[in-house]
Symmetry: D2
Subunit: 346 residues, 4 copies
Amino acid sequence: MIIVMQAGASEPQIQRVVARLTELGYEHHISYGVEHTLIGAVGAPEGEKEALAGQLSLLPGVERVVPILRPYKLVSREHATEPSVVRIGKAPFGRGQVSIIAGPCAIESEKQILEAAKAVKAAGGAVLRGGAYKPRTSPYTFQGMGEPGLQLLSAAREATGLPILTEVTDVRQLEEVTRVADSVQIGARNMQNYDLLRECGQISKPVVLKRGFAATVQEWLRAAEYIAAAGNLDIILCERGIRTFETETRFTLDLGGLAAAKLETHLPIIADPSHATGTHKLVPAMALAALAAGADGLMIEMHPHPDRALSDGPQSLTPKRLKTLMDQIRPLVAALGLELISPERG
Amino acid sequence: MIIVMQAGASEPQIQRVVARLTELGYEHHISYGVEHTLIGAVGAPEGEKEALAGQLSLLPGVERVVPILRPYKLVSREHATEPSVVRIGKAPFGRGQVSIIAGPCAIESEKQILEAAKAVKAAGGAVLRGGAYKPRTSPYTFQGMGEPGLQLLSAAREATGLPILTEVTDVRQLEEVTRVADSVQIGARNMQNYDLLRECGQISKPVVLKRGFAATVQEWLRAAEYIAAAGNLDIILCERGIRTFETETRFTLDLGGLAAAKLETHLPIIADPSHATGTHKLVPAMALAALAAGADGLMIEMHPHPDRALSDGPQSLTPKRLKTLMDQIRPLVAALGLELISPERG
Amino acid sequence: MIIVMQAGASEPQIQRVVARLTELGYEHHISYGVEHTLIGAVGAPEGEKEALAGQLSLLPGVERVVPILRPYKLVSREHATEPSVVRIGKAPFGRGQVSIIAGPCAIESEKQILEAAKAVKAAGGAVLRGGAYKPRTSPYTFQGMGEPGLQLLSAAREATGLPILTEVTDVRQLEEVTRVADSVQIGARNMQNYDLLRECGQISKPVVLKRGFAATVQEWLRAAEYIAAAGNLDIILCERGIRTFETETRFTLDLGGLAAAKLETHLPIIADPSHATGTHKLVPAMALAALAAGADGLMIEMHPHPDRALSDGPQSLTPKRLKTLMDQIRPLVAALGLELISPERG
Amino acid sequence: MIIVMQAGASEPQIQRVVARLTELGYEHHISYGVEHTLIGAVGAPEGEKEALAGQLSLLPGVERVVPILRPYKLVSREHATEPSVVRIGKAPFGRGQVSIIAGPCAIESEKQILEAAKAVKAAGGAVLRGGAYKPRTSPYTFQGMGEPGLQLLSAAREATGLPILTEVTDVRQLEEVTRVADSVQIGARNMQNYDLLRECGQISKPVVLKRGFAATVQEWLRAAEYIAAAGNLDIILCERGIRTFETETRFTLDLGGLAAAKLETHLPIIADPSHATGTHKLVPAMALAALAAGADGLMIEMHPHPDRALSDGPQSLTPKRLKTLMDQIRPLVAALGLELISPERG
């Protein structure tokens, strides 16, 4: 980090900063400038830097403390210069391979999830999604089927061969969900549920980590670092829209943030145009845009009968609309020099 | 809810909406306007309205579905027209009574928390805060002392008589924290951790629910409704700044949102100027502003030695600065016609 | 509009609303519901509705006033159901035809703008952009060359045949700029400079209207309506990023907003990935994404020597990078079923 | 500024940066650190620093360029360490003196503005506001009375002795408005209308500069610097709410930003709780909060008959509500150690 001293900081003030750095095991180098004296510091453990920067900023004569290093390691491009490929079942995400995850917001019945699974497979989707535990804004709305839902999702996998992805909202569900599902999703509202992140670092299934809708790209990558630091590097990041002043769409899909994150991390990143837009009318445009921006896959809400859906109906594609979209995705992906993978397709 | 039909919607389209409403047990009344036909609907259980509104919006001929009722009940002014008073130990919040919570971000040592507790008491604070479990953005920073920290906090209560408040970040900590602390805090990052909210609805201690930094006032009240619906109405809401484009302050303290929430709910609402501003230089101004805006109390970070703090040093007041602030608060509170309560003060 | 009366509103309160509607020439129809009485109102001139809605909301017994119609007409899909094509010189924007505008942020010298113009033409760009009057955040930075810059831009058109686009920041420049340029740009900071909008409605050149970085899609369309209402429907909208909490990019390119706006208006909409991202590293990804989201063209900053640019260097492509991007755009546009137009290309 | 070189930057890369600095007349000092080499640079004219920082960031081996100085001078605390007092007529703003500006959004008729002026005076307001030229979101709504409105405002001054403040939206109105009014307001939508700012720098009346609703504090101060640099230091800043995701209030009154700005500038800063909240119900709470946060005055919308107002009715106080608010302001201001000035009051 660089400690910028105020113009006119005294030598004792400079030495007090230096003494503090030495006390904490930092090496330093002082640069006396015409206006400002700069003190560069290196060497302390990563975890202490943030607190130290705060402490130093309070010392007399200090103008500002400027951090240099990015506060994540395992998920960074420095750790792995090549893009990583992460697989859910046989479906690959990353390094030019694109897979599509689709399915309903919530598992509602055996008939519904089976119908959905078959439609996903027929359209060329690679992974089936469906929620058994749903985080809902109101306590009075449908909260998901829970454990029986997991069984129905598993049956849909049997029937189609598609690997399954489902959300976990509580550490106490993790063992059960991990046993059944091929991949575990951490939702946007839990992106900074650090206890859950740590636990997901200890499972042996890939984790889809949605970006919190008010999380910066830096915070998102640091949340991924929690999982990685606990031992699991099979992480797929998912951009799903951030909260802004614009209410024309439900959230604002931040494709610039997705592209920026790809410069920082080797992990694959997918996009969820359904939650971002909140309406099926905008899902195709934003699905294509996400791939053009560099997404390694998509997560799309599809329901056999959106006008009967217990949640997120307005943003769900019908099976027919999903098929049409997949037909638009194929030439686009080819034009981008990428490969669309549909492992279970004929 | 009101279903607004498109200009030129056909009679069969109108009847299809009506049939669906009838199927679901709603009563309806149709109003044929010059341009738009309106269909008013009442009668279904609260929890199904949101999904139904989504479903109806997909029917042919429907322009828009406009909800009428606020989606919360127990925490609303309709439920209790008088403002509620919630107490942490003997410290009251609400109905003209103002109490001040203060203390360090994290419990770091016996010496630190005792020194802090005595300073809080001396300044006229009513509740001691201190974190044992800390949600931190990076996995490499200090994560709190955990259970031993709780014991130190308890000892500080013994020494001063101040009731204690501490954060819970995981359902698995709840039993232990509830046994020790006088009040449990749900942090901003967990405001939509619904499993944790539900569990907090089953304890018999007051819950301080911080507003998520990207949560609307409506979502904040609905999060409180989760706790209330599970059986606990001893809730104190805490505004602590929302995330905006402005980076001059760490967050943007939304006092307009606080004042608007007070029109909607009978629950007491306090403000946390420390996390909102991120710098001790702005804490006094925003503390006074929050009280003038109608806050029923404040939560203020104070550390015996901010330049040695393991977290949040820059935004922590010194004991001396806390005392000065309390001396500014007293005449202000009197001018506002409120009463400042310092139960443990001589 | 719909006036929703409070539950329990009295008949005199209802009649007072009705009397007021009648006084103002509205027709009304009352619908007595089980809980809420609704009053539908139609018929007053568009311009008075907003004020009236505000006034009615203050009457006793009124819960809420819900507007129904979109507050713009000429730019809406109701006015022209087919997408419009707007041309700058021979370059068409809209209805499946895509053109690329490129050039430096500011005109700096004859050599610079000529070099830039040739590079734009060589890469297949259709319009040359360059600023003579620059709105800059600080009064001490380069403010543009002014009128002499316009002459240099005109000379660059002579040399290449490319039509030219330049920004107007003040009504007093409009006559001169309109005489020289093929199209006039209203910048983001002037999107709600209504006097300037009105004046641009009276010129006979196409107007590129950038979205204000804090403007909603609705406000953007209403700003366009100002120009249209004054007589000029040759409007190209330009999404250039909105201001959000995310600082990883300079602004957040709102492609969901672009796609949503295309559902509302028949006007062509282009995107500016340069100002949105603030770095040339992200321009290609966001340029492709914008086209996939439905943009009818792009505006891209290119400078012969970005590391010597007097403004916006970091986000400017070099001529070589522009050429590479155009080579990526061609197959993408084809895959999307669109046509890229390069009128001046050999 | 500080140029931070990448870890492993080569000596030729470092020398290339140095050569560029020398070429441009900068002095430099190099500091070879263990990981990063830092180059400090001072000496170039303020206006060129921004462009140069951009250029340097593009040179090979450069990690980042960190500016040190704040990009404004005349409005900063360095320029004038004592807070300034700015007067509209006899009403002072700043250095512990607080004045209240009140009046209708728009001048609508002689009767209306006279009635308003008398009510402002009776309540103890110090300045009368009223708009003759109104920037409105839609071209079809009431756009203000224009020049005849100015005459009515002037007549209201004659009748009450109150100085008058009115908005200017176009450079072409400036001469006329300056002749009539005691103070000129630049509205939020014109905060970055730099041509207008420059012109307002050349008048001899005080300027009230509203913060753009998407402007950072830094941009706001730089907009003020435009006026100051053109010769006019009689500037009153006005915080009126920023645009955020929260829709419960019309805008989010950023009192933390106001308090932060007061640390940076010697200029007085007032707040407008009316536009910020959008509803008269929240105006009193936010008016008091603004004063407690350090505002040097308030601008409050008041209309003799809000339910007949041609604009902004819902957020306007009635004369009676203004009087009640003034009665709450007096003890608050006293408790804060400030002085409320009502020059025209008996």
